[in-house]
């Protein structure tokens, strides 16, 4: 049953959109499913499913490689996240450039947080100067993402009230 939900939900949503891929602008499709593909270019309507695969693969690597060390899993996941980053750069799925930049920062923030996390796995890997540098880097990139997101949100408020 749970397999049905975790595979079935995205698959069903993808199939509905795929079937209607030439009618994504029609009011009928927009009325119900806009949430899943809004903001995306019409030929990149599937991007949210790529994001779903990104989230699922993070969990998948963690579970299926659970016999390997945490450092090994983190490195594997960082490589996976870099691949998703490359895909995002290549496809530029959002119509709005700001959204593309925002999502890239989101992926980078995730990858850096995870990769930097290697340092905090074992006590012995914690080296004073390096630890502070990585710490500031992780904090910085995450705060940057949050600030950038708030900025984008404020811009949308300005537009709607003009």
């Amino acid at each position: 049953m749970i397999l049905l939900w975790s595979v079935g939900i995205p698959l069903a949503a993808f199939l509905i959109l795929y079937k209607n891929r030439h009618n994504l602008d029609s009011p009928k499709v927009k009325r119900y499913y806009l949430m899943v593909y809004q903001g995306l270019k019409n030929d990149r309507f599937f991007w949210e499913f790529v994001n779903t695969i990104r989230k699922v693969s993070i969990m998948g690597v963690n579970v299926f490689l659970s016999r390997e060390s945490l450092v090994y899993r983190i490195i594997t996941l960082t490589i996976v996240l870099i691949l998703f980053y490359r895909l995002q750069v290549k496809l530029e799925p959002y119509k709005n450039k700001e959204n593309n930049s925002l999502e890239r920062i989101e992926i980078v923030a995730g990858a850096l947080t995870l990769y930097g996390g290697i340092l905090f796995v074992h006590e012995q890997t914690r080296v004073g100067f390096l630890e502070s540098t990585i710490f500031i880097l992780i904090m910085g990139v995450n705060i940057y993402f949050i600030m950038y997101w708030i900025y984008c949100m404020l811009v949308t408020f300005r537009y709607t009230h003009q």
Partner: protein, 157 residues
Amino acid sequence: MAGLMILVVIFLVILVLVNLRKTEESEKSILMRIMTNYLQVITTFLSFNISFPDLLSQLFAPADKLGSTSTPFVSFDCFVKEKELSLFAPSPTFLKAFLSGILPIATFIVSVLVWTIIYFTVRKWCKDFKRNLVVTNVVILFLLHPNLTRTFFLIFQ
């Protein structure tokens, strides 16, 4: 736990309302979706055994609460433990998986009930019953999906 539930419900309601308000594309909704993805990814990292420094954990604390938006619904650990229901199931994990399995059906029934009540009380909030119901469930499933998948993977662990 109750506070967290309220926080989760508020987040869910905002997401539903933002998506219901317009039939045209809304930048706010797109931004909310990107933020949800970020929160879900960060929450997954927090479930790894990385002992992030305190300051960093504090930065991620709201993410942990909101990102795992479905955790209070899916986290049946206490329930399973308290009621000692594990006696009736092959293992607690399986019981958890079973409960998670019926969760989307349960949330669907709740959403039908809520929209029916609104439909008969404040009609102007519910002009298009079918659309409200579909959009609400698309949002719920979007939020629930990572947690359902996590529970599914736990069976293999």
